[in-house]
Amino acid sequence: MLEAANGVDGLACAGANVDLSLILLDLNMPLLNGVDMLEQLKSDLRTREIPVLMLTTEAEPSLIDRAKRAGASGWIVKPVKPDMLASAAVRVAR
C-alpha cells in the first residue's frame, strides 16, 4: 500500500505505479483537490484504468456528479466501516 500526503504527490505516485489495483482518494487535500486529481488521472493514458473510490467528508451533489463523469468508481462519505470499505474495494479493484 502506498500513501501520498497531497494531490500532487498522489498524481506522481500513481504515474510511477500504474499497476495499482485501486486508489482511495480524499477530496480535501493540499495542493490539488481530489476531484481535480481524479480528472488528471483519468485523462492520462497511463493511469486512466486504475479504479478510483472517492473517500471524503463531503456529499455535495455537483462534486459527486463531477467525480462520476470523470470516471470514479464510487463515492464514500467518511467515516466508513472497515467491512464496507473492504467490500467496496473487492468490487471495484482490478
Binding site: 480535501n28 493540499p30 459527486i64 470514479a72 463515492w75 467515516p79
Partner: protein, 168 residues
Amino acid sequence: MFLERPEVSDLMKRFGTHACLELFGAYGVKLLHGADDRELSGPVFSSVIGLVGDKLRATCLLAATEGPLRASCPAGEQLRDWTGELANQLVGRIKMQLFARSVNVALSTPLTLTSVRLVPLPRSNVGPIQFTLETEPVTVWLEVQATSDFELGPECLPVVSIGELRLF
C-alpha cells in the same frame, strides 16, 4: 458585507455541537457536552479549517488533549495527523448540515498545531463549545460571519449520507 450575527453564530454552534458528538460517537467515544471553561493545557493538539461561501464565512478550530484523541484514533495513526482528519470530518459534517439547507461553502485544508496551552478568546459573546471525555477537554471553536441577508432554506435529505457508499 460580512457581519457578526449572534443568531447565525448560535445556529452554527448547534450544528457544531451535533457534529462533534456524532463524530466522536462514530469512533466509539461518548463525549459529554458541558460548560467546562478550563483552559486546555498540554500537550494540546488543534486543527483549524476555514469555511467560505457567498453569504457565510467561518473559522473552525478543533482542539483536544491526548485522551479523547487517542480514544478515537485508529491504530497506527499519528495523533497530530488524526487531529487534522477529525477537524476535516467535523467541518464536513457542518458543511453537510448547511448544504441540506441550501447553503454551500468551500472548505480549506486543515492546519494542525501542537501547543502547551490554548485559551480561546471569542470576538463575540458566542463562546467555544466545550466537551469532556472523563476529565479531558475537547473544544470546538467556531467564529462566524454572515451577510445581512443570509438565511437557511428548508431542510432537504442529502444525496449521500454519512457512512454511505455510492457505487457508480
